[in-house]
């Protein structure tokens, strides 16, 4: 089969590789219908995530059709149309049974690597480095899904591949950001106007927000947040964010600040950006924290900072004093896909949510490398590129 493989920093190639097979009794094989890029993939492509090996198949946000099931798969059959959560959960450990699927004890065969880095193993993620399990990703014609009964969710009739694709990752991530923090009446500020940020905006409204503000520097993405998400917008390259947020919140600051950017944050302060980027490039600081810093500074006293942007390890110059003296709550995590997907598919069915506007470019798998380049450079008003392995 064809698959998009990581072969080094900013080196992606489509290769011909063997088809996947059932390796454990709870596995299923899915023929991939659509597989989307994700902002967190850019950390992989740009070389910020350790433990990648040349030849790794990437991609973690996908849907498709079941073509084969292992002997212990009970809920799926051949032909089922499913959307698959990006995070892999065994369903039986303490964390999975408490709906904290991204903290699964058992799905990561490289638990020893994570114990070294995080102290404890966490759930595996498709196509996201050997630290996160080393599972082959979804930018391919077929993919093997372990613990398939937990990870695959049947797409309701009448919902298309395009509509359901982002329920694999972007929607539950944005929804979790809001679910962890937003209370009715809150003013919510979202840093990052990409796929996840857009879904955080939608989710904030669903959770009863009274006003949603989006911060980014790409006007075309801010326009989408305004038109599709009814959000107020702030372009951080043009205005002072902290002042603008005070203006929009009666001087109090937002109740909830969502970080949907993560470790490759940019800053309007050139000195801050240079400091972070140089330290990062010299391997003195793995992650850039400018969005996290700003969110903590902006948040109202007693408010909540909700972090779903991906970080890998340490950041420098963390505003701990501001956090502590303002009595902030920090909520965070990789998304608990299996917890949220059933509810999100219901919302899709009821017509209360339609994420398909995120899919700005549907391209063949062969265009994988160009797709990521466009997504990274944010050209052609790109929001998300999805690869269709069946397209020529």
């Amino acid at each position: 089969m064809k698959a998009l493989c990581w072969n080094g920093t900013r080196k992606l190639n489509v290769e011909r590789v063997p088809d996947p097979s059932i390796l454990n009794p709870k596995d299923a094989i899915i023929r991939v219908a659509l597989s989307s890029v994700c902002g967190s993939d850019l950390h992989l492509v740009n070389g910020y995530i350790p433990t990648m090996k040349a030849g790794d198949i990437i991609g973690h946000e996908f849907n498709g059709e079941v073509v084969e099931t292992g002997t212990e798969v009970k809920k799926l059959k051949k032909g089922d149309r499913v959307v698959v959560g990006s995070v892999i959960g065994c369903g039986e450990c303490y964390y999975c049974t408490h709906d904290e699927w991204s903290l699964c004890d058992n799905s990561n065969p490289n638990g020893h690597l994570q114990e070294k880095m995080f102290g404890y193993p966490t759930a595996a993620i498709y196509g996201y480095s050997h630290l996160f399990g080393g599972y082959a990703g979804s930018h391919a014609e077929y993919i093997r899904v372990p613990y398939a009964d937990n990870g695959c969710f049947k797409i309701p009739d009448g919902i298309s591949w395009e509509q359901s694709l982002f329920v694999s990752d972007a929607v539950p991530t944005g929804y979790m950001a809001a679910d962890m923090a937003v209370k009715p009446g809150n003013i919510v500020a979202v840093w990052g106007s990409g796929g996840v940020g857009q879904m955080a905006v939608k989710s904030a409204w669903l959770k009863g927000a009274s006003c949603v503000i989006v911060i980014d520097r790409f006007n075309y993405r801010l326009a989408v947040a305004k038109n599709e998400g009814q959000a107020e917008t702030i372009n951080y390259a043009e205005v002072n964010v902290l002042e603008a947020l005070k203006e929009l919140t009666g001087g109090r600051g937002p109740d909830v600040c969502i970080d949907a950017v993560g470790m490759e944050a940019r800053s309007s302060n050139k000195l801050e950006y240079a400091y972070d980027k140089i330290k990062q490039d010299l391997h003195l600081q793995p992650d850039r924290a400018s969005v996290l810093r700003q969110a903590i500074l902006a948040c109202r006293k007693g408010g909540t900072v909700s972090v779903i942007g991906v970080y890998s390890s340490f950041v420098d110059k963390f505003p701990m004093g501001m956090l502590m003296n303002k009595a902030l709550t920090v909520r965070s995590g990789q998304m608990h896909a299996q917890k949220y997907i059933p509810h999100l598919l219901e919302l899709l069915q009821k017509g209360e949510l339609d994420p398909s506007y995120l899919l700005t470019h549907k391209w063949p798998l062969d265009a994988g490398a160009e797709g990521y380049k466009m997504f990274n450079d944010k050209t052609d008003n790109c929001m998300r590129v999805a690869f269709d392995p069946g397209m020529i």
Binding site: V17, P18, P25, D105
Partner: protein
């Protein structure tokens, strides 16, 4: 043989080699100084003697009092102590371990364990650092239903070893499993250095075994990616 044998005869080593050398030099200097005369002879003699004692014996009573943990036993033992919490009730976890034939399902270094009558069993394993598989007979020396399992290899075993597993409740539905395994390396004086090198390897292996155990007893399978596709084995475009 049991894991406490070497510790009964002398106090625990808790001073590292580098520190012992520094103590010896400092202690020797202080004693010489004390003998040469001058102020504070009693203090220097006392301090010098104390430092020399800890240098020669390798045991510092002050560290012991402060509970500085003993260094790995240098007498040819590979000892691993580790623990894990499992999301299954204690009786179920105990019953699984009590059937020693289950152990190779998740302990990768064990090839087979065959239980025989009267609590005895025959084991075959690949021990890291030794060429080829090793086998021995063992017996359960102590068991407390639901909480403790202890086994020793029988005299005449190629490789002396002992294992102890303790089970205690963890919250609503869980079990804390604490394991202690010791292997006595069968090599001569060279064994001491090798054992020290192999200990961390062995500990990593046992920790992995326990993770596999948790996976197996909770979800019924051990996660793997062996055999999955990647760009490292490409296929000709014509096939």
């Amino acid at each position: 043989m049991n894991e406490n044998a070497s510790r009964r005869t002398k106090p625990a080593l808790n001073v590292s080699n580098t520190e012992r050398i520094i103590s010896a030099v400092a202690g020797g200097y202080l004693l010489c100084n004390a003998i040469a005369g001058g102020k504070g002879r009693l203090l220097k003699t006392g301090a010098g003697a104390f430092l020399l004692y800890r240098a020669i014996s390798g045991n510092c009573p002050v560290y012991s009092a402060l509970r500085k943990s003993p260094l790995a036993d240098p007498v040819k033992n590979i000892t691993v102590r580790t623990l894990i919490t499992v999301n299954k009730p204690r009786k179920e976890v105990y019953a699984f371990w009590r059937n020693l034939e289950n152990l190779p399902l998740f302990m990768k270094h064990l090839k087979t364990v065959q239980t025989m009558d009267n609590g005895r069993s025959h084991w075959e394993a690949n021990i890291p650092g030794l060429p080829g598989p090793v086998s021995w007979d063992a017996e359960i020396v102590k068991e407390e239903d639901g909480s403790l399992l202890k086994w020793n290899s029988l005299p005449g075993a190629t490789i002396d070893n002992a294992g102890k597993v303790m089970f205690s409740d963890a919250g609503e539905n869980g079990t804390e499993v604490r394991i202690l395994i010791t292997y006595r390396a069968p090599l001569g004086p060279a064994g001491e250095g090798i054992a020290r090198l192999l200990n961390p390897l062995f500990k990593t292996m046992i920790k992995e075994d326990l993770r596999n155990f948790r996976s197996y007893i909770e979800s019924g399978e051990i996660p793997t990616t062996k055999g999955q596709p990647s760009g490292r084995e490409t296929v000709s475009a014509l096939s």
